[in-house]
């Protein structure tokens, strides 16, 4: 089972977490066309490689985390660059 580096709790097995999916930005509902909105709802990059995604530490700190995972090897690393502090 892959270990996820929870910034709060340290490394824990993936089965403690809930998988949310690719980290994405919710467009402004006020100013998007239905087509754009549905692209946001349904389209996925579905990258075969390093991808930035959101997980929820359900059994632990109950925090939403941003991680980088290689979707072919399932290697995981803490995200490069700034990640919004979910505190």
């Amino acid at each position: 089972m892959i270990l996820l580096p929870c910034p709060w709790c340290g490394p824990r097995g993936a089965d403690e977490f809930g998988y949310v999916g690719e980290s994405r930005v919710r467009p402004d509902p006020g100013s998007t066309t239905p087509a754009e909105w549905r692209a946001y709802l349904y389209h996925r990059r579905n990258t075969a490689g390093w991808t930035r995604e959101t997980w929820y530490h359900r059994m632990g700190c109950r925090r939403y985390l941003t991680l980088e995972r290689h979707t072919v090897s399932n290697q995981v690393r803490s995200p490069a660059g700034d990640v919004e502090d979910t505190r």
Binding site: L3, P29, G30, W37, T86
Partner: protein, 1003 residues
């Protein structure tokens, strides 16, 4: 010792008498693993056989002269021993109620019933052996080529094919909990896990432990030692020394008769622990910081005509039988050898008085041609045409490296033609995996032990690096006694926290670990002749009955490539998982394709490394369940249990209709503890509510309760419930019972990821309260007898208001005046520890009012009468708010709320079904929930989502999802019943069938 090839054939002795004698048992051997003081008998195919403690089923039977233990899959040829180990495909048997037991590994047990599998009428005379005669008409994949016409007959053919299913028998009897074997699981966090307890494995374990690592040493056989166990006196001396070192070195936990099943991401290792006194089998799930693979080598069978005739043994099999079990494998032997193991086997046989009539040496161009004999070896023809009569043929043609633990991550071993075997490329292994011993290279014992020692130390060093990284990643772990210090070590000793359950103090030390790798010496690789197949064709896969001819045919037919050949012929797909067959298969396919073995490559290893029982994988059943504080009361009062997610709830107490009537006429109480509750505090709670609910929240006064509905961003209805404002910045949100956890995560996600600036604090309090709904015209009267500090009068405590009060002497109860049932009702939330007290108080105090408990079923009826929908029943995974009868609730004029864009679109396009009330014209018919509404007798235009006979109205009522054009009140629709009949129903004016104006709940 060479004999002329003309000496007469001598037949192996047959047991006589009722309990056979151990005619083939030898005098005590130096390294024997049997206990001659422990004698007993067990049953083999209805006859009683003697055995010694430590005997395997195979060794005990062989000691009595038995040579045939099974019949082959396709041709039902007689099969005997091949490897005399857990891998032996020739001795897979049924033991009592357990199918497919490895007789070459499993110890014989007193009184156990052992039977041969898939043999009829008997092992000796098996009718299906007739297949052997027509074998030429049954080439690989013959079934793909026939039984095609006439198609209607195929099921009959299929039943015949099924008879050939080759395995043991499962009993249909469902054992009671008590009589089920106890399976167990545990987690382990060894610094170093060593897979394989041969010389290299033992040395590596000792070295790692001496370096301060916690070590788990796993050996598949019944004892440590690997090939030293069946070796000569020098080997036995070395073995004794290594065993001593393992025993005296602290920090090593040894598991024998255990096997590492798989390596998964992050060195997550599954280990099957067998032969435990306390449990039947145990699955150890180990998060190892380093893995050392010391799996040894598997001896490869040789492919030639008659290579599966009983009496053809691998050299290791012969040596195991002689040295571990003191069993004479035959009387007259021919040994075909290409290496030292074969030479040693010949020597062993000579030593114990087996006539070695000929040694055919592959290193000098020798080869085998064919074995003569069917039920047992009669003679063998060697290269050059000489034929030797014998009853035993021993082959030693080379080795296969069991590299699966190394390659489970996908990287493939490379073929070394000089060594005639695939070898793992240690340089390409991941940091957390190391390998040592003969799986890596050759060399004498000193070489191997030196390599293992260095590998063990390096494994410990790498483990320390990982431990350091993990420790420093932990939040605020400034322990009183820093690990590695005296105190910590003493504490371990005292508390036993580190006995292979956890990281050792040394590897977890405060100071950063040593960064310089240990220098691991290279192992020499001996040259070995490449021997896979003789000039003749023979069996490649013994458990699947696949011949080398089958493989060539498959390639000729276009199945070019080892993966396709494997699938077409089923070679390597049997119970031995290809461990014995894979390299021969690859070599023969390579030959057929005119490629090198390296080009042809091998198949992908799939876990588990060894077959494992479902029981061990399952362990004890651990399914969290949830109970309310009143659960025991419910059980004592005849509640019929309803499984709702993890919750066990009362469906009813025997009379749902009566329970419902009580609520309409008098007063009932229901346990609604599972309703989700979130305590929300902070100045921005109102903002949050506006965002997650489709309706408006800005103007909710303190002391008021409001109903709300949540949608997802695609407009689909997620959950509903009421939320109360308890104080200026203090709210209590309720959710559906099934949605409680999801809504909490939903709310947190919006707060944490979209609006981290909002000041809101969420605390789930679902089971801090026992929730009791008191419903019915006399609920006010009942409750007022128990409530202190609040006037329940309609003016002081109106509909959709909230109060805090003392109930039945319990402080801090929260009262909501709401009405899911459509009656005057109060939801009382009691500090959970007092739930039973208040529940019983209500029943005692209300006896004269006719109060009785009601269950979920009665509540379903009541809410249906009232037209209150249930998310997930009256809506589904695609139902958007305007299809859920929420038109009035959705406030599209809010700036933003979750789901707004899609709901705006749905509103403009009038898209989708509508939720309506429905009344069958024939009130005696209750259409099953899920019944379809049809137009023109065929086209589906909706479905019944809820239906019951209304005890209040005396006729059937429904909620339904209906196509928009049929959704207006008065519309007639036809409902197709499960029995095929169709009934007419009319869309009612309101969702509510009872009291649409809401007079009763506002009373």
């Amino acid at each position: 010792m060479r004999r002329t090839p003309t000496s007469p054939v001598r037949r192996p002795g047959r047991p006589t008498g009722t309990v056979p004698a151990m005619t083939m048992r030898l005098n005590p051997q130096a390294g024997e693993a049997i206990d001659r003081d422990d004698t007993f008998t067990f049953d083999w195919n209805g006859r009683s056989y003697p055995a010694y403690g430590g005997d395997t089923i195979a060794s005990a039977l062989t000691a009595c002269g038995e040579r045939i233990f099974s019949r082959s899959f396709k041709y039902h040829r007689p099969r005997g021993l091949l490897t005399a180990s857990h891998l032996d495909p020739g001795c897979i048997v049924q033991v009592d109620d357990e199918p497919n037991v490895r007789g070459g590994h499993r110890h014989a047990r007193a009184g156990s019933r052992v039977r041969s599998q898939d043999t009829w009428p008997s092992l000796r005379f098996d009718v299906k052996a007739a297949n052997g005669l027509v074998g030429r008409f049954l080439p690989a994949g013959f079934y793909y080529k026939t039984f095609i016409h006439p198609q209607p007959l195929w099921p009959a053919y299929e039943r015949v094919l099924q008879r050939f299913a080759h395995g043991g028998v499962l009993s249909a009897h469902t054992p009671a909990e008590a009589e089920r074997p106890r399976y167990d699981k545990r987690f382990a966090h060894p610094d170093v896990l060593v897979a394989g307890g041969g010389p290299a494995g033992m040395a590596a374990a000792v070295a790692a432990a001496r370096a301060g690592a916690q070590v788990l040493l796993v050996e598949e056989e019944h004892a440590l030692g690997g090939h030293l166990r069946w070796g000569g006196s020098a080997d036995l001396t070395a073995l004794a020394d290594l065993r001593d070192q393992v025993a005296v070195t602290p920090g090593i936990e040894v598991l024998t008769d255990s096997v590492v099943l798989g390596r998964y991401e992050g060195n997550w290792l599954s280990v099957l622990e067998r032969g435990r006194p306390d449990v039947h089998e145990r699955l150890v799930k180990a998060r190892a910081k380093s893995l050392v693979v010391a799996a040894g080598l598997i001896e490869r069978p040789y492919v030639f005509a008659g290579n599966d005739v009983p009496g053809v043994l691998l050299s290791t099999a012969a040596r195991r039988l002689v040295n571990l079990y003191a069993v004479k494998p035959g009387h007259r032997a021919v040994v075909f050898t290409a290496n030292a193991a074969g030479d040693a086997a010949a020597a062993d046989l000579e030593r114990v008085g087996v006539e070695v009539v000929h040694v055919e040496d592959a290193r000098h161009g020798g080869d085998l041609v064919r074995v003569l004999g069917r039920r047992g070896v009669r003679a063998v023809e060697v290269a050059g045409g000489a034929t030797y009569s014998c009853d035993l043929v021993v082959t030693a043609v080379g080795w296969t490296a069991p590299a699966s633990l190394l390659t489970m991550a996908g990287d493939v071993p490379t073929y070394d033609a000089r060594a005639a075997r695939f070898r793992p490329d240690t340089a390409r292994l991941p940091d957390d995996v190391l390998a040592t011993g003969v799986v890596v290279g050759d060399g004498d014992l000193e070489h191997l032990l030196a390599h293992a020692d260095a590998t063990g130390r390096e494994a410990a060093r790498r483990a320390a690096v990982v431990a350091w990284a993990w420790r420093t990643a932990l939040p605020h772990r400034a322990a009183e006694a820093p690990p590695g210090t005296e105190a910590a070590t003493r504490s371990e000793a005292a508390t036993g926290t580190s006995a292979a359950t956890g990281t050792g103090a040394a590897t977890g030390a405060e100071q950063a670990p040593d960064a310089d790798p240990v220098d691991v010496p290279d192992l020499p690789v001996d040259a070995h002749p490449e021997l896979f197949r003789a000039g003749t064709h023979g069996i490649v896969d013994f458990s699947e009955d696949v011949t080398s001819q089958d493989l060539l045919t498959a390639v000729d037919e276009g199945y070019r490539g080892v993966e396709l050949v494997k699938r077409y012929t089923t070679a390597t797909m049997g119970p031995t998982q290809g461990k014995l067959e894979i390299v021969n298969t690859v070599a023969i396919v390579a030959q057929a394709l005119g490629q090198s073995i390296q080009e042809t490559g091998t198949t992908t290893w799939r876990p588990p490394y060894a077959p494992v029982t479902l029981g061990a994988l399952a362990g004890r059943s651990r399914e969290p369940v949830r109970h309310s504080p009143m659960q025991l009361w419910h059980e004592r009062h005849g509640a019929v249990p309803l499984v709702a997610g993890a919750w066990i709830r009362p469906e009813h107490y025997g009379d749902p209709a009566g329970e419902a009537r009580t609520v309409r006429q008098r007063v009932g109480i229901i346990d609604v503890t599972p309703i989700g509750k979130l305590d929300l505090r902070g100045p921005d709670v109102a903002k949050l509510l506006e965002l997650v609910y489709v309706n408006r929240w800005s103007k909710l006064d303190v002391g008021r309760v409001r109903y709300g509905v949540m949608c997802a961003d695609d407009g689909v209805v997620l959950d509903d419930g009421v939320t109360a404002r308890l104080g200026d910045d203090h709210y209590l949100m309720s959710t559906t019972s099934s949605g409680a956890a999801a809504v909490w995560e939903w709310v947190e996600s919006w707060l944490q990821t979209e609006h981290p600036d909002w000041r809101v604090l969420v605390t789930p309090v679902t089971t801090a309260y026992a929730s009791i709904n008191v419903a019915g015209p006399r609920s006010r009267e009942l409750l007022s007898r128990l409530v202190e500090g609040v006037d329940l009068g309609p003016d002081d405590f109106g509909y959709m208001h909230v109060r805090t009060a003392r109930v039945a002497g319990v402080d801090g109860c929260v009262l909501w005046r709401i009405g899911f049932t459509g009656e005057l009702s109060y939801e009382v939330h009691v500090p959970a520890g007092y739930g039973l007290h208040v529940w019983e108080a209500l029943l005692d105090t209300g006896a004269d009012l006719g109060v009785r408990p009601f269950g979920v079923e009665a509540q379903r009826v009541l809410r249906l009468e009232k037209g209150h929908s249930i998310v997930g029943q009256d809506t589904d995974g695609l139902t958007r708010a305007f299809s859920a009868g929420l038109d009035g609730l959705v406030k599209l004029d809010k700036d933003d709320f979750v789901g707004r864009p899609e709901l705006t679109w749905q509103h403009e396009h009038g898209d989708g079904y509508r939720l309506v009330g429905l009344r069958p014209l024939d009130g005696s018919v209750v259409p099953a929930e899920g019944s379809q509404l049809v137009e023109d007798g065929q086209r589906i235009c909706g479905r019944v989502t809820s239906s019951r006979r209304s005890p209040t109205l005396g006729y059937s009522i429904c909620l339904a999802q209906v196509a928009a054009h049929l959704a207006s009140p008065g519309c007639r629709v036809s409902v197709r019943l499960p029995d095929g009949h169709t009934v007419a129903a009319v869309v009612t004016e309101h969702l509510a069938h009872v009291d649409p104006e809401g007079v009763r709940l506002r009373a």
